[in-house]
Symmetry: C2
Subunit: 132 residues, 2 copies
DNA sequence: GTAAACCTTCCAGTGCGCTGGAAGGTCAAG
DNA sequence: CTTGACCTTCCAGCGCACTGGAAGGTTTAC
């Protein structure tokens, strides 16, 4: 299977697949006599896994870690559980930050309704965004 | 006021202030005979404004837009209101995405409790993260 | 007088996950 | 036989907001 076929199967671009190889996520496949990459069918599974893990928000570095453990023959369960927990924490942290930002933006929007252009002196920048 | 003093006042690094000048957020100040930047006290206000606006999550490009309007002498109220609304939408969109990711991660975590290492055949990568 | 702290410019790199393009070789169809 | 789709490598850049460092000049404190 050549790279274009694999790309179509996995729903990625050929560029991305070469990039994953370079990044150590995908082993370098054998080549045809002409030098074309020639992938076994299992490569599609690996790419699907990468896609699923990336969709869950794991970084390529984290995915590489999981794959590296799997490639030793060990099931990566414990590592994956730890990773999921850590990532869940990061996501929750980020959600909390964004909720706070949302409250702040709603406050600014409220303020924008209350002050008119005439309320801003020429010396200040914007009474809505800052009192500086 | 020299750049280090301004940096300390504004809670930024001197590097960042030079970067803001380069990025068109802050006018180039006059120089001392030795070539040192010599800021008027108002520069601190402008930096405080930039800080507040950035804290609300606006990009430097957006902040530059607000400042550019203000620098024409116009109050930027209408522009700012529009900007806040657009940014609020982006934030809400992102929150929704992260909430979905959180649900997905909680599902994966649940699955991780249910499957053991023995459940993963050597041919698959990780039954927790993907069925590929 | 000298050492440390401060300033200047310029160039380069960070992290992340790709993407674009150039210059060339190969393969399949008509 | 040619056209066009496909493949190869390599190098560069994106967007974002800085940050680091080198190599040099200046000011300040003791």
């Amino acid at each position: 299977m050549r790279i274009g076929t694999l790309a179509a199967t996995a729903g990625l671009s050929a560029k991305t697949i070469r990039f994953y190889e370079e990044a150590g996520l995908l082993a370098a496949p054998p080549r045809t006599p002409a030098g074309y990459r020639d992938y076994p069918a299992e490569a599609a599974n690996r790419l699907a896994f990468i896609r699923d893990a990336a969709a869950a928000g794991l970084s390529l570095a984290e995915i590489r870690g999981v794959l590296a453990i799997r490639d030793t023959g060990q099931p990566p369960c414990q590592h994956v559980t730890t990773l999921i927990e850590a990532h869940l924490q990061r996501v929750e942290q980020r959600i909390a930050e964004l909720l706070a930002t949302r409250v702040a933006l709603q406050g600014l929007h409220q303020r924008a309704q209350e002050v008119g252009p005439a309320d801003c002196g020429p010396a200040e920048i914007c009474r809505i965004l800052s009192t500086a």
